[in-house]
């Protein structure tokens, strides 16, 4: 019983990690840049939703607030790329890393200035409800997180497989120049990828905020999601999700089995081991670099 419940809550947490990692991978695949602010995007998405739906702020109906929040974050991602990130084109990767770290700081500062540093809870219509399934008592939020993640994954899978835009994104990420020759507006596509990453971050934020309180430093969770992305392989979308699940599931069990202090380092230990022995990740789509 204990085992199943630990696994389910770990799975739910892993889904959030996986979704943040998905944002990293989306951007990495499209632009070969790493967005270190993805965790802060997630935090921002959570706060935007809280701002829209909580009674003390705007108090909009939850089901209306969610798509608005996702839209807002999508627009934010698009604007970020259009106004700032695109200027970095052609500069070394590390410049983008530093830029996104700085953006993360700014987002964290802005969130702190607008919504204070107090931890806040998202008011959801299903707060505190339980699901009884085959004799297990599970929190409704955790089940919802897992289901939403599955649906989102399915949606993204179909999007990249069937939709014209998804195919264009894949083409632009595989070979920018060739895609450009084929008439794909690569710049616009890249901005749209950032928008998609922002939207995914918003979903991750909403799921995270429905499970527990968020405060501006929640964005630091992004570092754990990094570990997830690395474990899964930076270039693989399913890999990122699986990496997130691996970390999410291992964490509660490590906390259960190991003395305090050791459990929190397990994700990073796994990540370093993966980096040393399989630098391209467990589910890599990358091959060795050519001259």
């Amino acid at each position: 019983m204990d085992f199943i419940q630990l696994a389910i809550s770990g799975l739910a947490q892993g889904c959030v990690y996986g979704l943040i990692a998905l944002g990293f991978v989306l951007i990495y695949k499209a632009t070969e840049g790493v967005n270190f602010a993805q965790g802060d995007f997630m935090m921002m998405g959570a706060f935007v939703t809280i701002w829209l739906t909580n009674a003390e702020y705007l108090g909009i109906n939850f089901w209306l607030a969610v798509p608005i929040a996702i839209l807002i974050m999508g627009i934010l991602g698009y604007l970020l790329d259009m106004l700032i990130i695109r200027r970095m084109f052609g500069q070394p990767q590390i410049a983008l890393v530093i830029l996104t770290i700085a953006l993360g700081f700014i987002i964290r500062f802005a969130a702190g200035a607008i919504w204070t540093h107090e931890p806040q809870l998202l008011e959801t219509p299903f707060a505190g409800k339980e699901v009884r399934f085959l004799g297990f008592v599970l929190g409704f939020e955790e089940v919802a997180v897992i289901i939403v993640t599955l649906l989102l994954t399915l949606f993204l899978f179909l999007f990249f497989k069937k939709a014209k835009l998804g195919k264009a994104m894949q083409a632009a990420s595989q070979n920018q120049l060739a895609a450009y020759y084929m008439g794909i507006p690569v710049k616009k596509i890249q901005s749209l990828v950032w928008a998609l990453a922002g939207a995914v971050a918003a979903v991750a934020g909403i799921l995270f905020a429905s499970k527990g309180a968020v405060d501006p430093s929640t964005g630091l969770l992004g570092i754990k999601a990094f570990a997830a992305a690395v474990i899964g392989g930076f270039g693989s979308l399913p890999g990122a999700l699986i990496g997130g699940l691996i970390i999410g599931i291992i964490e509660p069990f490590a906390a259960y089995a190991l003395p305090a202090g050791y459990s929190q380092i397990t994700p990073y230990l796994i990540m370093i081991l993966v980096l040393i022995f399989r630098p391209a990740g467990l589910f890599s789509q990358m091959h060795s670099k050519k001259v």
Binding site: E32, I94, Q174, Y262, L269, I272
Partner: protein, 365 residues
């Protein structure tokens, strides 16, 4: 405009390009030496802090600016240096041995860590070092018998041949100690860049493959870069321990790692000046912001301008503007201004325009 006629190959690696420049640096040295005469102990402390950060910045600059290996985990090596130094001092090792030894051990540890990490490139290296920084924080807590865990350690008074140096009771002596170490490291760094090893570092940064073709042993060179960089950073950590007085795992958290990297980027990657400029900005920015805030609140009668975290926000905003408009950092801007005056009416706007460069892919086509 001054033209330097080179008469021998040695002129290429002279410590100072021409005599005038040597004179300017001498002037700066005299200024630094006479600083205690006209600064009170608070500002002297701030300058000391900036110098310590300059040392750490030089450590990271060697690795990131001159070898091209990005590290997001240098706070870990600062922590190692600080803890090793204080642990040795507590065991009765004199300061004059414990600090260099702490640096050397940190360097060795850095080389050992570098070995598996070496295979990683660019972004992966940054992530791996980031993980090292996060791990170090937790390991310090776990290794409580040595590190004091969450409580941390208290740095004892520095004792050099019976002469006691302490940040609070003898700030001037502490300042001179740090200044001496800074100059020492600076000299080593400057000379390293003139030596084959330093040139191998730069060659490797510009193109690993061509460096290899020129006979540079990549593994060995990268390991030495890591070792030297970590040793310098470890020294800075030891000094920071003494400066802070008491420290624990949170003194050397991930934010410090990020701050170090941001510092050298703002200062200007690939130049020793950059480490100093960056440290000056990082060190004095909180004071400047506080002063500006006081001025604003006094003149406009606004009483509560205290938004938490505004320092970090402004710092990050400066950074974004800097990266977008001046990728070469403060040093790059300084070079431009200097050239403008040196060439006075003939400076052209695009003189320092970068060659067009395209995104180099890391994926195989």
């Amino acid at each position: 405009m001054r033209f330097v006629f080179k008469r021998s190959y040695d002129d290429d690696i002279k410590l100072f390009k021409h005599k005038m420049r040597a004179f300017y640096y001498l002037l700066l040295l005299v200024l630094m030496l006479s600083l205690p005469l006209f600064l009170d102990s608070f500002f002297l402390g701030e300058v000391t802090y900036v110098l310590i950060f300059s040392i750490a910045g030089m450590g990271l600059m060697l690795l990131t600016g001159h070898t091209g290996q990005v590290s997001l985990g240098h706070a870990a090596f600062m922590a190692l240096g600080a803890y090793l130094n204080v642990i040795m001092l507590e065991k009765g090792v004199p300061f004059i041995i414990s600090l260099p030894l702490a640096g050397i051990i940190t360097g060795i540890v850095g080389a050992i860590i570098a070995f598996p990490v070496l295979r990683l490139h660019g972004i992966y290296l940054a992530i791996a070092t980031l993980a090292i920084s996060v791990l170090t924080e937790d390991i310090i807590v776990i290794a409580e018998p040595f590190t004091g865990g969450v409580v941390g350690l208290v740095a004892p008074q520095i004792d050099i041949f019976g002469y006691n140096i302490d940040r609070y009771s003898t700030p001037i002596a502490f300042y001179f100690l740090v200044l001496f170490i800074t100059l020492f490291i600076l000299l080593i760094y400057r000379n390293l860049l003139r030596a084959p090893l330093g040139r191998a570092f730069i060659a490797m940064r510009d193109s690993e493959i061509s460096a290899q073709a020129m006979g540079v042993n990549i593994t060995k060179t990268k390991m030495s870069a890591f070792a030297i960089s970590c040793a310098i950073t470890g020294l800075a950590g030891g000094l920071l321990g003494h400066f802070a007085g008491a420290f624990n795992h949170e003194t050397f958290n991930l934010i410090l790692s990020i701050q170090l990297l941001l510092m050298i980027v703002i200062g200007g990657l690939g130049s020793i000046h950059g480490a100093f400029f960056g440290a000056i900005l990082v060190g004095f920015l909180p004071q400047i912001i506080a002063m500006v805030r006081d001025v604003i609140s006094n003149s406009f009668g606004v009483s509560s301008l205290a938004i938490p975290g505004i320092e970090v926000g402004i710092f990050a905003a400066i950074l974004v503007v800097m990266i977008l408009f001046e990728p070469m950092g403060i040093y790059g801007r300084w070079i431009k201004i200097r050239t403008y005056f040196e060439l006075f009416p003939f400076y052209r706007k695009n003189m320092f325009k970068r060659q067009k460069s395209y995104l180099k892919t890391e994926r195989m086509k």
